[in-house]
């Protein structure tokens, strides 16, 4: 994994500061802070109920911000909501296509939504990339789970967003689809888009993400590279995999070197 150089010229795609969220007595997010830069893939991991989806939905603007700040490409998500959202696309864990719209119409609507010029050529590329060319006239309601996922990718990739939020993106995909999705995520980062990738598939995160953010019970328990994780977590061996680190951090097998604050150079 290569840590991107932090410099003045580097574009900060996402900045989350002190984000907290409370649902009916449950602290879903607690003082969450992190940044993602253009061209970077941040892996978001954590046990079930850790607050990963809540964090992503809040950043996507689906959930209102209770406490804290989120800015996308320097635009505040509260005060400049529409402009901020114009820079991001969001693929939820269970994409729901419109039952009565064809695959192509989904792309047509997305192009209109994000003001994409000459969208047909780009749409054809994406349909080919995600193996949807034969399904372009199929209705959303007729698509299988994997096809729906691919359609969600195509829609999310279409406007060339500066920030893409992906929640469990490989669910329901066949091996070929998984490979296509992995390549597409890499290419997206290569085109200087920032990606926040949430998944339980730790090997996927390990293979794609430059940095990882481990959430546990709404708190960021680690933000940094895998090497930094190995260095900062007491008891973690030098060759520890993300899986071992994950279990160590969330299962209390290995305690963060610096209790009480987010370990790692966030």
């Amino acid at each position: 994994m290569v840590l991107p150089e932090r410099s003045q010229s580097e574009v900060r795609a996402l900045r989350v500061a002190g984000l907290s969220k409370r649902y009916e007595g449950i602290q879903a997010l607690s003082n969450l802070s992190f940044e993602v830069f253009a061209g970077e893939i941040l892996g978001l991991v954590g046990p079930n109920g850790a607050g990963k989806t809540t964090a992503l939905r809040t950043i996507a603007g689906v959930l209102p911000i209770q406490e804290g700040r989120v800015s996308i490409q320097g635009r505040d998500l509260v005060t400049e909501e529409v402009e901020a959202k114009r820079a991001l696309t969001w693929v939820p864990d269970e994409p729901q296509p419109f039952d009565t719209l064809t695959v192509e119409e989904h792309l047509e609507f997305t192009a209109e939504l994000y003001g994409v010029e000459d969208w047909r050529r780009r749409a054809d590329e994406l349909l080919a990339r995600f193996e949807l060319l034969e399904k372009r006239a199929a209705l959303g309601g007729e698509l299988s789970r994997g096809m729906r996922q691919k359609l969600a990718f195509a829609c999310a990739w279409l406007p060339r967003p500066r920030l893409v939020l992906l929640d469990e993106p490989l669910s329901g995909l066949d091996p070929r689809g998984i490979r296509a999705a992995r390549d597409a995520i890499r290419d997206l980062a290569a085109e200087k888009s920032a990606v926040v990738l949430s998944s339980h598939l730790l090997e996927l995160i390990e293979a794609l993400a430059q940095r990882i953010l481990i959430l546990d019970r709404g708190r960021a328990v680690f933000v940094g590279t895998l090497e930094e994780a190995r260095a900062s977590l007491a008891g973690a061996a030098s060759g520890s995999s993300l899986e071992e680190i994950f279990f160590a951090v969330t299962g209390r097998g290995v305690s963060p070197a610096d209790e009480g604050s987010t370990p790692g150079p966030a």
Binding site: G61, K85, P97, E105, F109
Partner: protein
Amino acid sequence: MSLVLARPLRKLLLLRVRGGWRKQLARLRTPRGILFAAIGVVLFGSWAASALVPGHVREELSPEELELRIGMVALSFFLLTLAGALRFRGLFLPREEIERLLSAPVSRPELVRYRLCAGGLRGLLGGTLVALLGAARMPVPAFAFLGTLAGLLSLTALHQFAAIAFGALELQSARRLKGLARLFSVAGLLGLGVLLGAFFSGAPLREFPLVGALLASLEDPQGIVARATFVLRPWTRAIVATEFAGFLPWFAFDLAAFALLFEATARLPIDFRELSLDTSASIAARIRRRREVGGAAAGDASVGRARRVPWFFGRGPMGAVAWRKTGSILRKAKSTIGVALMVLTLVLLVARVVSRNEKIAALGPILISGFGTFYLCSGLRFDFREELERMEAVKAWPLSSVRIFVSMLLPEAVLVTLLLILVVGAEALLQGELDPATLGCLALLPPFVFGWIALDNALFLCVPMRAVPGQEGVLQNAGRAALLMLVRLVLLSGAAGVGVVAFLLADTLVGALGGTHATAVAAGFGATWCAVVLEDVLLVWIGGVSLRRFDVARDRG
């Protein structure tokens, strides 16, 4: 003021309208779809035509009386709209729009405008029909039609305005307003009970203090109800207008009011996202469950620790299937059974009065059994109609299809029968005697109820279409309902015919042999009972075959 939708949302609206038509047309590509749609069109068309015949139901009322009546109808629509807004707070977004549109680069006012337009379009068909039906009764149908349509459009906007505003109140006070909606419903039910009780008891309505005051107020042009309808006068005046000069100013006002309300709703400075997510999730779950089931079976299972469900129908594979269903009923239908008991008590009251007034003792138990079976079987539906999404598992069970069919239906049939026996028994207790009609009803109830449910399910398995209010496939569902009614009528007539023939034969025979008339009645009843049981056997066989032929890949409703 911007009444024009943002371009992407306008595009979405157009695409969705086009998609909706495409789906409707797709339903007409199969013979089954065409058949049921045709039955639905005929049924619906003949009903609408009968209601639209000019002068058919027009009453001679003075202009003041007419306006007061229209005002009362408008007031009830207005109150219903507000009550509905208490139930579903925030902005409703269908599940396919929630994540997509809330994260899209469109402002919240634009989203509200889009949903208002989408909701308005969706309600336009129903609204046009209501307006047409209402117009046929008015002095100038064209004015009434336009006025009614303007009123209904305003109600759509009002509903959304109130839903967002109530939601904000709820967020501020951190209290659930759903309780208020329930309170309104209970008060309405109680009011209805008092009115029905007063009506059927034969006592003059005015003797009841509350009802008397209400009636007096309804008839008094200066009464409280008339005054309450004052704010709705711009709409009622447009509807009852008799000349163009009297219509135009009110209609123009109505349109302006709608435009203002539309824009005010869009610009409400309230962040409705939390409430919308809550409401949209709850409506999506309701639609999904209704698609699967409908009625009480669409309810949530009780939260908290569940009690153990007894094995009422014994052990073994059939017992296990029935046990699973029993658990579903006991955990999901508690409140519905409570409401059913209330309704049945009301029916008992009505049945008592009717049988006393008509001086026919048999009417009471027959009324309870007939209406009770219809009402309970429509509401409970803990059978195959609950299982459409789980048919793969059901079909894989190690049991013959006939046995699965019977054991799936048995718990619901037993529950409905027991409830009805309870009420018929209570009627007999109140009457102080167990007359032959009551005994006959008690004996006939088990096979009759089972047959009713078996027919519903056998036809459902043959044509698994799900009726969800506001969803597509309305015509096809109406067609299937008409077919169901027809088949039921044939079966009931068949059983009754067998009884009558048996009675006539027995009567002739006992007449010749010197027996009593009661013997012939008993023979007729016995023959009917046997015919119903035979029909049950036939329906179970058809149900078994339908289940065996059910294709989980194709028959998804």
